[in-house]
Amino acid sequence: MLKSRWSGLFFQLIALVLSLTVVSLILLSIGASPLNAFSNMLTGSVGSTRKIAEVLVSFVPLLLVTAGLLITFSAGLWNIGVEGQIVLGAIASVWVFRIFIDSTLPPSLIIFLSFLGGMFGGALWAALTGLLKTFGGVNEIFGGLGLNFVANALTLYLIFGAWKREGVASMSGTEPLPDSFSLDQLGELRISPTALIVAILAIVFVYFVLNGTYFGLKLKAVGKNFRAAYLLGIPTWQYSMYSFLICGALAGIAGAVQVAAVYHRLIPSISSGYGYLGLMVAMLINYQAIWAIPVAFFFAALNIGSIQLPIVMQLDSSLSGVLQGILVLFVLLVEGFRQKFIKRSSQT
């Protein structure tokens, strides 16, 4: 019974209830009403069309990153460097915009090129992590983390140096790009339908690759057992590199979206932490692409909904981060217990 899909869902529901309970206790301990807080977060995220659009703005890069991470996770890789890959995607896309800033080409073509640039930038950064792992023996967690710092340093260098605003040296970012370089918007709403379509296509692509292709099957084989896959004739390190490249490219698109749809310039924290959040989403859905859309939407809704907390209740909005983290922890904890029971019951 414990092995069934339903029991898995049941245990995850327990995890959800437990995490809500813990957050409620935290709220109660500071004298705030949990019900009030949750209802504010709910109305603040899906209470109106405009709010849903804001959630989608956050959902798009998160889904793109999650899609990429599903590939690297399938290959058994912890691509913590995804943050830096988003940043490099953003840098590369701004670079493309700067090249074409006075061009007479149609803006939509330039935006398309900036997306290609973003993909290339992200993939390049991921490839560095891959190369470090494959040829330098540097674990991808450490290599990726190191490259995240380098990516941040590069951003700061560009903002304070090569791409600085005239007469200004501020972390505020580079000169805003012309309005024509902005992605389309849905009427008055901030969400870009193009970006949304790209993100959905990305997750569909990843789902298809992982579940419907030999490539995906081999990737999973590499992830499950590197040595066995090698012995079966799969070019293992090449497959690891492919997964890094795909993930980096998708993260790079997320960076390009942050530039063309949200910030319209390069700013220091252009990745908005979506890389780390994407890792959480991927872990929470146990690496199954099918769940990526609802869970990424849920996390994005928490991010946007939590803005109400400081405005309406004078609470710190980092509470949403606490809830997200606790949720993932409980899901893993509960899953651990379930596995233990399964093991025990199969032994008896």
């Binding site: 200004v168 972390m171 946007i304 405005i311 909005s317 997200q324 596995q339």
Partner: protein, 433 residues
């Protein structure tokens, strides 16, 4: 199991990372600001009202039905003891004096509110009923323009900006937007003066935020005040050293800016016995207090917030502060009562009493560490400024030696606001390298 355990540990680490990054910098924020003083009198530029419709305003303030609701976006924590707190308390002042009601959101910067933009957050305040939104930082200047244009029926105050200054470099007609700034140049002159008369070594450090027009002119004003009083006290001008170190933003963002505490310490341990804060808070004060307690007596000048000296009064020489209340009150009242005008307001102190909370937009409070003798010189400078002394009078050269003001020439408002470099005699970067 092992896999799950490793995932658990990773998730825990990520959670801590995300929560920490969401908590962001606890340091304060300070903003933009300063005002320059050219003619020695307050000057408020009121461009002609553009022939464009402006929002119709709310339903009056005190007395008439529903209170007028205004929103405020603060770049730093509302209780930063600096720039943002000065704004927050001005909002409270308007609530009290006018019966209006404030909704606010603090820590509005990309590090603290990842994935959001100030114009988006302003809409959240409008959703809470705000009919007017105050953007409190130079960091939000572009976003305030975007928001004002996208929401012509909402009034916008962009503090420290110059978008609607007709004589400014970036003038735009935005009927529902107003710029407000205090002429902090005067406050900074007094701050520089207090530092100069108290320094034993003649070496003054200036904790600079980021480099832009505002910070250049304010830092230069502090230098002019320091130089003036240094000479008044009978010292050789050549012996005065004034060095600026820029941290990169209005307050500390770990990993992105220099740590202002570290910068203060570096100043103090290299012979600079007074450090003037130019950032959004006064973290130089506790550092000065610590070093003094350890046997190295040093001093500090705070910034932005009237009570900023309170954290370490025994080392505080004083604080030049913003008092946004009176101008916010006028602006909000005009919005509520239908007399709103898009204008650029750059207002100086009320020289009759620069610390009058109802009339003076900037002030200066002397600190406990300022000697009686020093206080006399600072008071004398304040009196001279009140009676027309203008330290922005030539000859003044830019940092690279280029003449800026000829002998006897008085700087125009534009020359002060848009000061292109630091001044000759100042050490530190004038622009990004």
């Amino acid at each position: 199991m092992r896999k799950i355990f490793s995932r658990f540990v990773t998730a825990l680490a990520l959670t801590i990372l995300i929560v920490l990054s969401a908590c962001g910098p606890t340091a304060p924020v300070v903003p933009s600001g300063g005002g320059g003083s050219s003619g020695g009198t307050d000057s408020t530029e009121v461009p002609e009202l553009p022939d464009v419709s402006v929002p119709s305003g709310g339903s009056g303030g005190s007395g008439s039905g529903e209170p007028f609701v205004f929103g405020m976006l603060l770049v730093g924590p509302y209780n930063d003891g600096g720039w943002s707190q000065a704004h927050y308390e001005a909002g409270k002042y308007v609530e009290e004096k006018y019966g209006a009601s404030m909704v606010y959101l603090d820590k509005v910067n990309p590090a603290d509110r990842p994935g959001t933009t100030p114009d988006q957050l302003a809409e959240e305040l409008v959703a809470q009923g705000a009919q007017l939104v105050i953007f409190n930082s130079d960091d939000m200047k572009d976003a305030s323009t975007t928001f004002a244009k996208a929401n012509p029926d909402v009034f916008v105050i962009m503090a420290s900006g110059d978008q609607v200054w007709e004589d400014g470099k970036v003038y735009q007609q935005i009927p529902n937007l107003m710029n407000i700034m205090g002429r902090m140049e005067y406050g900074k002159m007094l701050a520089g003066c207090a530092a100069a008369v108290s320094s034993e070594t003649g070496k003054i450090g200036y904790l600079g935020p980021l480099i832009n027009d505002e910070t250049r002119r304010l830092t230069a004003s502090a230098y002019l005040g320091a130089k003036h009083c240094w000479e008044q006290a009978g010292n050789d001008p050549a012996d005065l050293e004034f060095k600026v170190t820029w941290i990169g933003f209005w307050f500390n963002i770990p990993g992105f800016t220099l740590d202002p505490v570290q910068v203060s310490q570096d100043f103090y341990t290299t012979g600079y016995d007074v450090v003037i804060s130019g950032i959004d808070n006064s973290v130089n004060l506790p550092e000065a207090q610590k070093l003094t307690a350890e046997g190295t007596p040093v001093l500090a000048v705070a910034y932005d917030y009237i009570n900023a000296c309170d954290v370490a009064p025994e080392v505080c020489l004083g604080v030049p502060y913003f008092n946004w209340g009176p101008e916010y009150l006028k602006a909000i009242q005009s919005a509520a009562e239908g007399s709103w005008q898009s204008q650029f307001i750059w207002v100086g102190p009320d020289w009759a009493d620069i610390n009058n909370p109802d009339t003076s937009s900037i002030g200066f409070v002397k600190g406990n560490a300022l000697s009686a003798e020093g206080a006399t010189i600072v008071d004398a400078l304040a009196a001279d400024l009140a009676s027309g002394l203008n330290l922005w009078t030539g000859p003044i050269n830019l940092q690279d030696g280029t003449p800026y003001l000829a002998d006897g020439e008085v700087a125009s408002d534009q020359q002060v606001w848009y000061l292109p470099q630091l001044l000759e005699g100042m050490e530190g970067l004038s622009a990004a390298e």
